[in-house]
Symmetry: C2
Subunit: 400 residues, 2 copies
């Protein structure tokens, strides 16, 4: 664990100039960035603020709280106090008032009341949704960003290895989750996992034993779990781990904002040859990915190849969920949010590009029996893929 690390100035500058190119192409005078994660991406701080990002020239970070801290954390040159939300409009007037007519905002996350408030106070402005542009920009990671994700994969690996010594028959799922929460935080996890999608939330891990692995839920994920309350109906519950059943564990950790997301299947004793064969199928889907994925390959192709492999082995009905629990993707970008681009999904025809980082999670769900899966994190390189995950892909067998 190191001391606090600020985002380097060159990172922030590159991100801003790339986004300014997009603004120019879209003929937008600028953007008001208001979501904390996007603000962090473009400024290096999540202090309570709004980022005024003109098409050309220096952006201005207008800060409500804490101004001192924003100035310490962010390499931006122009950081000014914003006494209250209303003084935003005065600041905009001073900055670029007359030339601020078509303005990008993050409509996918910005609450309606903020949008209506902007429209009321800037009645001559035309507001345009730039959330898709921001998501596409954030899809390509710099070496700095990949390095942060690498640190997160180390913490996940350490946790998976340590779990081998911790898990015991009779322990509840919730106890296992508690150990994962402990290890994550002790090793520098930033304390939350972030999802962008509306109403989506997650716990730090899913511990899914036996038939609980086949319980579906609101989360846009192939596995769900009972949770321990309908108020957070996902992840670990009160069920006790048994011998000879699959124990699926999804584990996520964030370091300096960047998340790793992985899944392994644990077991105490033996699982049926059928389930072992299902696990082999997941590993073979990973092997196919490592052979086929390289810049230029459409993401959708990788999904279809994966599904084809699963279908050929008779797992079509169980692939990425069962029944209403089936989800239409096998991978998703990871970064500052866990649900980034690219999607490895039938409708996502985007080609792979160098610098993309995604979690790839072939998962088979068998009602009554549980979940089998292997999820690893990958970086797209110039020639193919680099596996960022440090853990072996095999079943993790607990002694005793």
């Amino acid at each position: 664990m190191t001391d606090i690390e600020n985002v380097p100035e060159v990172e922030v500058q590159k991100r801003i100039s790339r986004f300014q190119e997009i603004l120019a192409k879209k003929n937008l005078d600028g953007a008001l960035i208001m979501q904390n994660v996007d603000i962090f991406y473009f400024s290096g701080t999540i202090q309570n603020s709004i980022l005024f990002l003109p098409q050309r020239g220096e952006p201005c970070l207008m800060v409500q709280k804490s101004l001192d801290r924003a100035r310490e954390e962010s390499p931006l040159k122009n950081i000014v106090p914003m006494n209250n939300r209303k003084s935003l409009f005065q600041l905009i007037g001073e900055l670029d008032g007359d030339n601020f007519r078509s303005v990008g905002i993050e409509m996918d996350v910005l609450p309606t009341s903020y949008y209506l408030w902007l429209k009321e106070h800037l009645p001559t402005c035309q507001f345009v949704d730039v959330s898709e542009d921001i998501r596409r920009l954030r899809m390509i990671k710099s070496p700095y960003e990949v390095n942060q994700i690498r640190k997160a994969t180390e913490v996940v690996h350490w946790g998976f290895m340590k779990l081998g010594e911790i898990i015991k028959e009779g322990m509840t799922e919730l106890e296992v989750d508690a150990h994962l929460a402990f290890m994550a935080r002790r090793n520098g996890h930033m304390g939350i996992m972030r999802m962008r999608a509306w109403n989506q939330e997650m716990t730090i891990s899913h511990v899914l034993s036996g038939e609980n692995g086949a319980v579906t839920t609101f989360l846009n994920s192939p596995h769900g779990g009972t949770g321990n309350t309908p108020a957070m109906a996902q992840g670990a519950g009160n069920r006790r781990l048994r011998r000879n059943e699959p124990i699926g564990i999804d584990y996520g950790v964030g370091i300096n904002g960047y998340m790793s997301d992985q899944f392994r299947t644990f077991l105490i004793g033996e699982i049926s040859p059928d389930l072992e064969r299902a696990h082999d199928c997941c590993v073979r889907i990973h092997e196919m990915l490592q052979r086929e994925a390289r810049p230029g390959v459409p993401c959708s192709n990788l999904y279809f190849l994966s599904r084809g492999l699963a279908q050929k082995e008779g797992y079509g009905d169980f692939f990425m969920g069962y029944g209403e629990g089936q989800v239409p993707f096998i991978g998703h970008g990871i970064g500052l949010e866990i649900d980034e681009y690219p999607l490895i999904a039938p409708r996502f025809s985007q080609e792979l590009k160098e610098g993309m980082v995604f979690a790839f999670e072939p998962t088979l769900i068998f009602p009554g029996a549980g979940v089998i899966g292997v999820e690893d994190d990958y970086l797209v390189t110039a020639s193919g893929l680099e596996r960022l995950t440090l853990t072996d892909q095999g079943l993790i067998r607990i002694r005793g």
Copy 2:
């Protein structure tokens, strides 16, 4: 730890009929409830769905995923599948198409793109913000809800007591946080803490040692902390606990959706008589609250009385933060979200009512020295206040 507990039918029915009275008063034909926490409040499930709530008659929960689970968890009678978001409009047409003209929505949280999508597909509808009405309704807790908060206060108490055995000189703040995360989850914490306000996020605890207790941040809270990254700039960091300094610990836990939020000041060795006196002042502010608070008393009065006490003892500059870190409240409602009504704040003139539950947190921040505070959870009863917190209000002294 018990098994999974569904929300009782009578709870859901009462909440719906009270909200229908509000809809009638506001002349609204109905509401579309779309945020997961509000959906949980009115239906007992957070499955991926939209709740159609007409002014009169049976509400309809339209579920994308998981339908089976929504039917298991929710006592509502009318739960139907919604194949995709677009089929919402067909369903509305079938339900109440012609009479659905003025519709309440949660504008404080609903993303702009959803709002614009609703407007596009229901062009004859007038949309009205009902988020304030929902927050006022949720402000008054039923005995069932109070009981859930009581369970959460038990977990917090257990954690505070256990910490007395765990904390040692030289341990990092992050290690202490890790233990709190472990104990919470093991004792049934649902795995996340929920805030309603835009861009506000929280970790399960704030562990703030020595001068770190005076570090402000984006969080709307009197204390902040360094955190261990600018990407989540709050809470525990890498600083090691020392003898003879205040160690402020804020701890929150959620059981069946309902949260408890408390703060205690720990110490190893001694703190200066000045800081001890500051702690006494916080305890006396609590004693004042317990004398003065009862149904009918305006929340703002309680804030002014508290501030007056702090000022009289010379703590005006340090009360509820220092400098730009000062926040304009001393208490906040707790329930399904941590930032509920009532606010104990200068501008919140709402009178106390039986059934309100709030966290009350007199806090003094001394730059360079740290944070001193006592936060307890209270229920407003017919005659006054009941303290829900189980832990003594004194400084918690660690042996060794």
